[in-house]
Symmetry: C2
Subunit: 378 residues, 2 copies
């Protein structure tokens, strides 16, 4: 099987690029003296996560319980479920713990703490817990300046079957930065907010061994990790156009692409029509807010090399429209019906989520492996 023979649209993963991306991040984080806890939500693939080395492969992060179960079934034992717990999900957590997994949950309210404490008591099973901190007003987490920090800390510390581990935060705002300085400031905010919380907790007599922070941009550009114990990040494994726009990577580092076939033209409009629409490319428009807007993806030739100026300007369910960014006339004879192109994604997590498997290449046209992904929740 090779890039000529497989069906389109298909998801292509360049293993060599993944390897380089992983090695670069592992080296950077280990130089800082902290642990990397890679996030399995981008890859959703045990084959990708097994490319990490010790110590970073010994603890991972997940975004769904399905990921937790899947990674545990493939030998990953220390798993952080980094989405605020809902009470109904606790039974599934304890089922995993009873099978030998170490699952850490996160929470930011007394209601969740109550539910977790009650379930742990019910199962008479210890449950590791991190408190989620909101470092930048981005999404979830408690305000680090609020009195809830100590109140919740005391509650978690005192609950008989909860193992209060510490604090966790995520600098989601880093994705909206323009320029590396902004990312560095965001990284420093992420770190100081989390470390300050740890210090307040410990000053109040509540041990807080873990300080977990991270996002691909802040993990990449952060210069000071003092006080931090672990860094979480996911998208760096594959990289994408949003990350390239943030200067986190070069276009050439992007390991993920969608293989598509030309199915038509509208010459008067300078359009090439391909068989990859939003079902394949996703509707993610993450680069819309950046300096260079890549539409629904950057067009590359069959070899994976970008074709100057071509991008996917609109998508329908199974159709994509390619045109030239500056309106230059496309030589349509270079893209006859049946010709294949590769599209680099805005957001690797979203584009990968459209597919159930990766067609793995090693820089050539041969498919050397097919690796499964596990989308969904059940």
């Amino acid at each position: 099987m090779n890039l000529h023979s497989i069906n389109t649209p298909s998801l292509i993963l360049d293993r060599e690029k993944v390897r380089k991306n992983i090695n670069r991040m592992e080296q950077h984080i280990s130089t800082q003296g902290v642990s990397l806890r890679p996030h399995g939500k981008t890859a959703k693939s045990v084959d990708v996560m097994q490319m990490f080395h010790e110590p970073s492969r010994s603890g991972i992060t997940v975004s769904t319980l399905k990921e937790a179960e899947y990674y545990f079934n493939h030998g990953f034992q220390d798993i952080l479920y980094a989405v605020g717990i809902s009470p109904q999900k606790l039974d599934r957590i304890f089922a995993l713990i009873h099978r030998g997994a170490r699952i850490t949950i996160i929470l930011d309210s007394l209601a969740q703490a109550d539910a977790a404490a009650n379930a742990a008591q019910h199962y008479r099973t210890r449950l590791p817990v991190l408190m989620e901190i909101d470092c930048d007003g981005h999404r979830s987490g408690i305000n680090p300046d609020s009195s809830l920090l100590l109140y919740l800390g005391r509650y978690l510390d005192a609950a008989s079957f909860l193992d209060f581990q510490g604090v966790l935060t995520h600098a989601g705002e880093s994705y909206g930065c323009r320029g590396i300085d902004c990312i560095r400031q965001t990284a420093e905010l992420e770190r100081t907010r989390a470390v300050d919380c740890k210090m307040r907790l410990e000053k109040a007599g509540i041990p807080c061994p873990v300080v977990s922070i991270g996002s691909t941009p802040t993990a990449t550009f952060g210069r000071d990790f003092s006080g931090v114990t672990e860094v979480r990040a996911g998208v760096f494994m594959f990289q994408d156009l949003v990350m390239a726009g943030l200067q986190v990577c070069h276009i050439d580092d992007i390991a993920l692409s969608v293989l598509a076939t030309v199915i038509g033209h509208q010459k008067e409009k300078n359009w090439i029509i391909i068989d990859a629409g939003w079902t394949a490319l996703s509707r993610d428009r993450g680069t819309a807010r950046q300096i260079v807007d890549h539409g629904y993806g950057m067009v590359c030739g069959f070899s994976g090399k970008p074709i100057n100026g071509l991008y996917v300007s609109s998508v329908y369910q199974e159709h994509g429209v390619i045109t030239h960014r500056e309106g230059k006339e496309i030589v349509m004879d270079r893209f006859p019906v049946g010709r294949r192109v590769r599209i680099l994604p805005n957001h690797a997590c979203a584009t990968a989520a459209s597919f159930n498997s990766y067609n793995v290449v090693d820089g050539s046209e041969e498919i050397v492996h097919q690796w499964d992904r596990i989308n969904g929740w059940d």
Copy 2:
């Protein structure tokens, strides 16, 4: 199983609403004296497509070859694959035809016609073909005024193993209309463009028995179907917020929703956090261009009744943020951690595509069936 016990996020389908939506469209189209050829791309479910009655269940439309194979395996024999053919997909088409399916392909270029004619000749198997017409500059299809119409028509008519059936068009621009008058004008344009092509072809001695048109808005509001033989539409089965914005349906007709659980609050910001992000709701922002922008979905109570003013204002991979459209303070005690809500989708096709099955209800809280969906291409 019921709406309290299933995992979240989950996809909920109200069968009674689907039934009403289907019956309404079947009645409307049959009153016009034309056939309905329902599009299987929204539901991707044989259980939904089997809710159609004769004659509309005797011929269907699909958007992928996986759908074609799946529906054929479940007894649907007359299948229109309504995405411009790429040469590499022809082997799979003929494999289905050799198993007894009637598969019609569409094309808009000589290159595709050549490939189809060669493959049909190779297999010595007749292949039904429709020519795609571009009625509104929306996407694919040949310009109805171009000389290519007759040239391609003659080619298809003469090719020994191709069965030239006629013309097909899709008024994609109808989704961008404001007001029913606009949709009616678009419907009339869709009809007249297709019928004009048929007349030009027949005047040139090329029989053109089929005139296939359709989109949910134009199928709903079109008043004159003279000359048309079949109408294709898909999203009407489920309806969605985009269709409600177009006045194609009422909010109460929307049969599809995502069940989600409250996992947190940011009281200072008037935010409720739920466990449904873009992986569950999709990133479709189809209502952004409409008079009422529903963000990433309208929030309903557990019963499916809209909660005045609440909508999903932002999404992350596994988190959604609910807030009030006009900034009114939300009574957070009404939405404690663990409380479940249902989110109506902007675009039913996109939201459904995030899930592998429907949890079917009949207006109550009981899950009466789980119906599979078939996403993807392989």
